[in-house]
Symmetry: C2
Subunit: 386 residues, 2 copies
Amino acid sequence: MENFYFVNPTKIIFGHDAEMRVGSELKPYKKVLLHYGGGSIKKQGLYDRVVKSLQEAGVEWVELGGVKPNPVFSLVEEGVRLCSQHNVEMILAVGGGSVIDSAKAIALGACYEGNSWDFFENKAKPQSALPVGVILTIAAAGSESSDSTVITKEEGLLKRFVSHSMLFPKFAILNPELTYTLPSYQIACGIADISAHIMERYFTHSKSVDISDRLCEAALKTLITYGPRAIANPTDYEARAEILWTGTIAHNGLLGAGRIEDWGSHMVEHEISGIYDVAHGAGLAVVFPAWMKYVYQEDMQRFVQFAVRVWGVDYAFGESERIALEGIERLERFYQQIGMPVSLQELNIPEDRLDEMAEKATRNGPVGNFKKLSQADVMNILKLAK
Amino acid sequence: MENFYFVNPTKIIFGHDAEMRVGSELKPYKKVLLHYGGGSIKKQGLYDRVVKSLQEAGVEWVELGGVKPNPVFSLVEEGVRLCSQHNVEMILAVGGGSVIDSAKAIALGACYEGNSWDFFENKAKPQSALPVGVILTIAAAGSESSDSTVITKEEGLLKRFVSHSMLFPKFAILNPELTYTLPSYQIACGIADISAHIMERYFTHSKSVDISDRLCEAALKTLITYGPRAIANPTDYEARAEILWTGTIAHNGLLGAGRIEDWGSHMVEHEISGIYDVAHGAGLAVVFPAWMKYVYQEDMQRFVQFAVRVWGVDYAFGESERIALEGIERLERFYQQIGMPVSLQELNIPEDRLDEMAEKATRNGPVGNFKKLSQADVMNILKLAK
């Protein structure tokens, strides 16, 4: 087990009607920026309930909607300007990972004199940030209790991230009912994203990490059991609850404690959804199995464990490679079962920019840890994903 | 899944030499109370390393040693007086659950005008507390990142607890090497205590709690695998690390999220170790299997799941009761394997005060949730434990 720090101060408020708590959580702040995406929170009535809770608590707010999947830096800049104009003290993100990530980036920018893209290019280290609160509407990114944000800068289609302990939200409100109105494709993308967050931690060379191995396996098995059920019946509260809470646990830092994490697949996927209009989860469903096929020989036994413990593949002495490959195949079949693509072709991504993606993914050197991926390795993985 | 709040702000610093970080963690405080137990931290050199780290960081301290297993209120009162005399701003607990619980009780008392036993009798609610930091020396109580403290008042041998979010330690330093010098009996008691913390959460009537079921099972399986190894070889860093981190996870609140927890066995055990000189973990190893035999018919399928998923008992249709009982027997055998008693007789506890214990355990009404235990029920469990 590697030495580690672990802390996660985000308060989780989970369950029926949890969003009605938001006013009392925000009471300490004079002015809040209410940040959200498109019109869905208005259509489903969530916007009205949030506004009512804020009004009852006497909390004032300004609004900024319009966050889109793969949130962009120009909207972050607009948010930063709004915060400064209105002396905003806290940002409330109502939505999924894109809204939360956008809110976190605004929170950083609002406390910084320079151009806040500096943080995404490692030219500046965060010194302070506004607090962020969350009402979550989709199980996916885990940003509701993570310390990171991913933003795309439109010029050059650069998708970059910042991690810092100041970016843990103060609170995250999780009501499974708020996910009922999502299209099933988005639910499936969320499940793929959650599974990837777990597997980026699972595939490690760190030895003697059995407790976190087993926690990872617990989370994956819950996804496998409840994912299809959550998609089949949008108002299955219990299935949605299992997925929602698993999504938070998958990315709150616990599953990586004591392990060297990988994140190669994420780095590769970021270049796909940085260029093409692809949901991050769908991109991961394509990249991860390809990555696995490319790297499994780095530690066959870990892939055997994955197959046996997560997928229930029967263990047989001397059959390691077959079992390892069977685990990867089961994962692919699971993605297909929930309606995810498992090839670039299914995403309508042509071959002409694979080189560019491989080059951008490795611009700062090799990515990933399970296998350090060079530009050529990334190219090979993208070809396996065709 | 039940509605829930979950938060745990304790920062974990885990690994080799982690205790050398203590000075820098304590730098913000002008005066610290260094609280510990007997001489073991001096014998193993830990005391000297801590003192060196404090000195290097320029942190001043006063000391209070002498905490014993089942920590007593009179020492808490002494700590409170010391805090007031020396304007102590922070308490550093160096030791196991008893030292940490004592530190937490002092932290409460130091911010209270009245007699701090009031908190343990629900006569007062905590309004503030000094911050507590921890250097942990045994995997057991989970107090290093829990919000509760258990103290025994000598008059009447009353063992009582307080839970409050202010009691989460600010930081907990976990170095598996610090557990090397413990006698194997104490390691085993710790493992029994950890297993009980998991099972108090596992046995619930809350439906659709699969993610936390599986997290509980992950933690139990890690204990079962690494417990005997940790006992067999005191300097097996990896086994000690697995147990140490599992002990924290078992009691940091995560495993109970969304579930109605039980805690009946703990309430019964507190009356045993409140009267007799018995380690809490050993008492639990006696009480828990007896409790299981008494209550398993309340939800046979949960005990079947316990047997199949935790102990690998082969599932067979129509064999529920046999499988449920097999799971309980395997738990008993595990306790015996690590050197724990599984009967009151092995603890040299006579029968003459069972009535008194049953009466004290239920003084405020029935205890536990999986089955609400009346005084007669507790008596029956104690008899099953003979």
